[in-house]
Each structure stands twice: as structure tokens, then as C-alpha cells.
Assembly symmetry: C2
Homo-oligomer: 416 residues x 2
């Protein structure tokens, strides 16, 4: 065991259900790799790293596969997170000096950063800086985001589980909506301000007997309130219950978000942006008058491990292992990418891509996957997304009726 070549891992950005699976994959591979001494984890991303707030992951997880399995199926981020963009070093190199002092202090030869777009920006900046100061370290980006908007990869870890949550929830909400013999409209608001991958995943709720959602509005297309009302009315002419899926970020053709007007003030006189779902609920009540409700699929879209996707979790774990191997083999300034070989049967392979091709690029749903009217997705979307939500993680342990997750009290920041 080479004690002078240690490994550091950190997580950053918004949480997903799968990011700890990637962490577990990296740890498993690193602990078993003779090229690596100690495996460290920084708490709260690059910020915690700069502050020397670390965990010794070799001590915590060494030789304990059961604990790694538990980590694999723990939601959110075991190492905590931060939302922090490094300035460019020419502007201010303070952060870089702090980071590289830590790398030096702990003999870090391999640094893996698991995160989304902003995190890949950090990987780009740090690996460029390392080259600039001739520091011998390999820095790898490991993708993560429920939004599925990272460039150069077929999809991102975390998306499949969020999509499974959405599809399952919409099917259950549909069953709930069908029970009364009165007309009803249900509007389901889904995460994803700028891209419609999660909203499109609502289509996966459709099955042999249920067509819900009957309308799907992605933010890639301008939203037309008149078309929406006309479509809902037309559907109500043929069925009693209409279910609509919308992205939280739908906007009109001038780019204005669909939300409450400035008349919506809260009890303190502040303009309160109500969501698009609530706005459309009020619109339907006014223009159509039938029973209507809006449901906001909340933060559980990104932390509901109890309904995680088997495909997502196992891929995320493999991506962690692969990332570590590539890093040890000399790759730096790269991100691990998923490349789809085929959809049916579903086959993929892993690769790496230069971080500069990826950072700060946002990938939306292809316009040709959306129907002409802009209120549904086409077959290509199903073909793409279905494999990513398949498989169930029935091996999740429960105790006293609730899931058994990893102890994360090291994140608490208790005072006094």
C-alpha cells in the first residue's frame, strides 16, 4: 500500500438518490486498489475541503461491504454538499491555494468530485490550475443530477430514480383522481426549471389502461394558455378526468414564467411567486369551472430512495468504480460519461470526455422528441427513458417501518 498516494472524494450541488451509490463505488474500488493509500472524504464539497473538514473513509468503510451497500441506498449526500463556484485564478487564487495546501497536506494524488454542471466547472478549474503550477494530481468529474442536463453523456446518475418517482407518483395520483364520478382536472407540477427531462418522464406512467398524464408541457416549448385551456376542454369532452403534467419552468413565448401575477402578495405584502401549477389551477377554475387541483411533486423527487430505480443505482455504483480506475490510470480533467449502445435490449458503456466540453453546457430535451402541438412527448422519449427507470431496490433495509440509511450526524454542524 502506497501511503503517499491518497485519494480525496467530495460531493457538490443538488442532491439525488444515486449520488451516494457513486460514492460507494469509488470507495470500494479505491480501498481495494494497491495504488492508493488512504481514502478521504471532504465534508460539504470544495468548501469543506478548503476548511480541512474531512472524514477518513478507509477507516469507516474498509472491508465492510454491508456498510457500503447501506451507503449505496442512502439518499441525498453522505459527504454533504456546497453550492460554490470558484473564481478564475487570475481574478483570485486564494481558494486554489487553500485547496492545494490540503492536497499537499494529505498527499492527495487522486481527487474525484461528484456533481452537476457547477461541479464540473470546479473540476475544470482545479485541473487546469494543477497543470499550470505543475502539481502532480489527477482530478476526475463524476456526473450527477436529477435534471439530466449534463452534456456529452447519454443520461446522468440520479435522473432514472427521479423519473421512476415521477412516473409512479403520477400513476398513483391518477388512480386517486379516477374515483369520483365528477369531472376533474389534476395538474402535476414537476421539477426542472430549464429542461424537460423530468417532466417528460411523466409519460412513463402511461400503461395498458391509464393514459395519464393526458397532456405534458415541457419548458423547451413556449406555453400557450389558450391552447392549454382548449386542450383541456377537448379532453373533458371525451373523459371525466384529465391529468396534466407541467414543468415548474413553463413560460410564454416572451419568456415570462407561468406563475402568479404581482397581485399575489403574502401576509407581509411581499410578492409571492406561486408555482405554475397553482396558477393553472386558478385558470381552470375560472375558465372551465370544474373540480380542479394542483399537486406539486416536491423535494421527494430528489431524495425518495424508497422508490429508487434499480438501473440508476447499479449504474451509479459502476460509474464510481470506473471513475476511480480511470483516475488511477492517469486520466485528469475529465468527466465519466455514459454512452448508450442500444435501448432494446438496454446496453451502455462508460467512457470519459474532456471536462471543457461539458462544463457550463446545458442539454435539453431534443425538440424532435416533442409533438407538434407542444403538449406531449413522442415515442423516442419512451424508448430513451424507459430502461432508466427499470428495476426495484427491494434489498433496501427497513427497521421499525422506516428505511435504514447511513448515519449522517457528521453533517449536523452542532453548535456549543
Amino acid at each position: 500500500m502506497n501511503t503517499n498516494n491518497n485519494c480525496m472524494i467530495a460531493q457538490s450541488g443538488g442532491p439525488t438518490v444515486a449520488i451516494n451509490a457513486s460514492l460507494a463505488g469509488i470507495i470500494k474500488e479505491a480501498i481495494n486498489n494497491n495504488a492508493i493509500g488512504t481514502v478521504y472524504g471532504a465534508i460539504n464539497g470544495v468548501k469543506g475541503l478548503m476548511e480541512d473538514r474531512l472524514l477518513n473513509l478507509s477507516d469507516i468503510f474498509g472491508g465492510n461491504d454491508e456498510l457500503l451497500n447501506k451507503l449505496t441506498l442512502t439518499p441525498a449526500m453522505y459527504l454533504g454538499s456546497c453550492r460554490y463556484r470558484l473564481k478564475t485564478p487570475d481574478v483570485d487564487s486564494t481558494d486554489y491555494e487553500l485547496v492545494f495546501n490540503i492536497f499537499k497536506k494529505y498527499d492527495i494524488k487522486y481527487f474525484l468530485y461528484i456533481g452537476g454542471n457547477d461541479s464540473m466547472d470546479t473540476v475544470a478549474k482545479l485541473s487546469d490550475y494543477a497543470k499550470k503550477i505543475n502539481y502532480d494530481i489527477n482530478i476526475m468529474g463524476v456526473p450527477k443530477t436529477i435534471d439530466n442536463d449534463l452534456a456529452c453523456t447519454d443520461h446522468t446518475p440520479g435522473f432514472g430514480s427521479a423519473a421512476k418517482y415521477i412516473a409512479t407518483s403520477i400513476l398513483e395520483i391518477a388512480h386517486d383522481a379516477y374515483i369520483y364520478n365528477v369531472e376533474s382536472v389534476t395538474i402535476v407540477e414537476i421539477m426542472g426549471r430549464n429542461v424537460g427531462w423530468l417532466t417528460g418522464a411523466a409519460a412513463l406512467a402511461r400503461n395498458s389502461y391509464s393514459e395519464a398524464p393526458h397532456l405534458i408541457y415541457l419548458p423547451e416549448r413556449a406555453f400557450d394558455k389558450d391552447e392549454f385551456i382548449a386542450s383541456v376542454k377537448e379532453l373533458l369532452g371525451k373523459r371525466k378526468h384529465v391529468i396534466v403534467a407541467i414543468s415548474e419552468g413553463i413560460h410564454d413565448d416572451k419568456g415570462n414564467y407561468i406563475s402568479a401575477s404581482s397581485d399575489n402578495v403574502d401576509q407581509f405584502g411581499h410578492v409571492a411567486l406561486s408555482g405554475a401549477g397553482k396558477y393553472l389551477e386558478n385558470l381552470v377554475a375560472k375558465e372551465i369551472g370544474c373540480k380542479v387541483r394542483s399537486v406539486e411533486l416536491n423535494v421527494l423527487q430528489r431524495c425518495a430512495t424508497h422508490i429508487s430505480s434499480g438501473a440508476d443505482i447499479s449504474e451509479s455504483f459502476e460509474i464510481g468504480r470506473y471513475a476511480l480506475k480511470q483516475t488511477v490510470e492517469g486520466q485528469t480533467g475529465k468527466m465519466v460519461t455514459i454512452n448508450r449502445i442500444s435501448s432494446s435490449p438496454y446496453e451502455y458503456e462508460l467512457g470519459t470526455k474532456s471536462i471543457h466540453d461539458i462544463a457550463n453546457v446545458e442539454k435539453g430535451v431534443p425538440l424532435e422528441w416533442i409533438n407538434a402541438e407542444g403538449n406531449d412527448v413522442l415515442e423516442a422519449f419512451y424508448t430513451y427513458a424507459r430502461p432508466l427507470i427499470e428495476g426495484e431496490n427491494f434489498n433496501l433495509g427497513y427497521c421499525g417501518g422506516i428505511p435504514s440509511y447511513m448515519d449522517v450526524s457528521h453533517l449536523y454542524g452542532l453548535k456549543k
Copy 2:
């Protein structure tokens, strides 16, 4: 097989994750019972019954245990529902004549109505009327509600699964809240306008490393905004992340619901009642100023079969079987009740009680199970509720990544 003694079943009121398990239990017992000819189901409760909208459940489910298992784990109501209170027959006996004409037409000797408080009122009225007109029929009420507020029964089918959903969700929301190294308050708004059973169930999210929720506010106690803010501030003095569970029905000591003031108007100028969670989010933002968000646990509290409680589903099935047996043995004007023998180990037995003791009585959380400050539940609540959320239904089938539920297209009411 006695073809002149048929059985009719219907469901009514708000849906739960367990009501179809009770339906399946009744059907299974009825199909195998020689005293019964055909088993019918009325679509959309007593309203559909009056309109002669029926399903032949013997045809659909006869001899098919696999299909009954699928029904057991299907959310909402397979037979649809209605929200309808019968007038007293002295006031207007039209409904009664319609109902009993149907009973006569189909030789109904046994009628079972699965529902909550309003449904038990229907059972009371119909069984009284049957006695009055000397009609030979046995009418049984089968309990159902997520709110757990039916009198004379230890708990109600549907509560355990909703409680499991709430506890699991709060643990996952807590994991999500813990990841950033900044102070944060998360307010989780839970169903149950008048009674705090579901809100109290949030306490079951607490485990060996996570104390969330740190505060719990039930509607049985008056809500004091100043106490709330003071408690949150005190907790923030000791920890970074505070999670609060509140009932949607919390109100001040004058009975006013905690919600937006009349300043909250929507884009059409209508006063929009924002939820208690949103109100408190704004209050914390104003009075404390830290990062704060509110999460409304939405309709999924009552239809998320994917996280149903093993105890709840198996009990609900047994209750259905028991109800059918009691009805055939001559009981009428009764509701099946659950009686707890012990909590540890958890043991219960079934019984029946006169419907007049139950209908229109609402059972809240005992005040002695709430702490003096009114912001938490005591040990007695855990002891009571824990067994009801235990067990997982891993036998739920999935296809293409989403659960496989019963086809409910007979509820659609398609037009033209």
C-alpha cells in the same frame, strides 16, 4: 350455491392505500362462502348503487387469487367512490327506495360498505330503514380512513400506510436538508385538518442519528406563533437544520386557521388560502431570516401504495374477510372494529360494534399523548403507532419500472 342470497359491496369517502385490500378480503371470503350466490360491486358508492351501475365481482375475481393479490395492492378505490350523505328517510325517502329496489332486483342479502365517518352514517341509516320496512338484509360497515378518526376502533385501515409514507418521507427530507453547511428550517405540512394522527406519525421518522422532526404541531392544541418562532430560534442555537411537522389544520386559540391573510389574492383577485406551511415559511423568513422552505406532503399520503405498510395491508385484508363472515352469520347495523391486545408484541383481534356508537363521532389524539408545550408527542404515541407502519410489501409487482395495479377503466365514465 344459493343464488338467492347475493352480496353487494361498495366503497365511499376519501381513498386510502388499504381500502382495496379490504375489498379483496371480502371478495375472497364471499366467493368461497356457500351461503352466497353472486358477489356484486357498486361503482361510485351508494350513488352508483342507486343508478344500478354494478360490476360482477364473482366473474372478475372468481378463482383468481393472483388477481385478488393485485387488487390488494392497488391504491385508491377499485369500485370508485362518492361523497354523499343520505337524508333521513322522514325528510326524503327517495334514495332509500332506489337503494332497496336495487337490493330487491339483485337479491342482495348482504351489503358491505367500506368507508369512513360519512359512510358509517349511511350504514346506520340503511340498516335502520331495513328494520323499519322489515327488509331481510344484513348491512355491515367496514372501516377505512387515513385520518384514523373513527371511534370505537384502535385504528383504521389506511392509517398505517399513510403514517409509513409520512415517516419515510420526513426521514428522506431530513437527509436532503442536512447536506448544506448553512442554517435552514424545513416545514412539512401534513394532512389531517381536525385530528393529528397523521401529523403525530411524523415522530416515527426519528431514529438513532436523526431527531427530525424537531417540532410537531397537532391541531388538538392551539398554535401559538410566538412560541413557534421562539422554539425554532432556540433549536437553531444548537443545530444548523430544524425540521418542523405541522398539521394542515393548526389554528390559534380563537380557532382561526393558520394560513394567509386576506392580502393573499390570486391572479383573479380571489382570496387564496395558502397552506399553513407556506404561511409559517413566510413568518420564519421575516422573523428569523435564515434559509427556509415548506413542503406540502400532498395527495400521495393517501395513494402511495409503493410504500404501503405490511401491517396495514394484511390487517385490512383480514378485516374484509372478517366483515363478510360476520355479515353472513347475521350481524347487521355494525362496524368491524380493531381491538389492540398488546403493543409489544403487537397483537390485535377483530370485533364489531353498533354503528350508532360510531357514526359521526370523531376521535382525536389523546391530549395526554401531547407534551405540555404542545410541540411534540410523547412515548405513548410511538408505542401506539410504531407497529402499524411495520412490514414492507415487496411483493408489489412492477412492469416497465412502474407498479402493476388493477385496471380501473370502468371508472372512467368515458363520454360519446
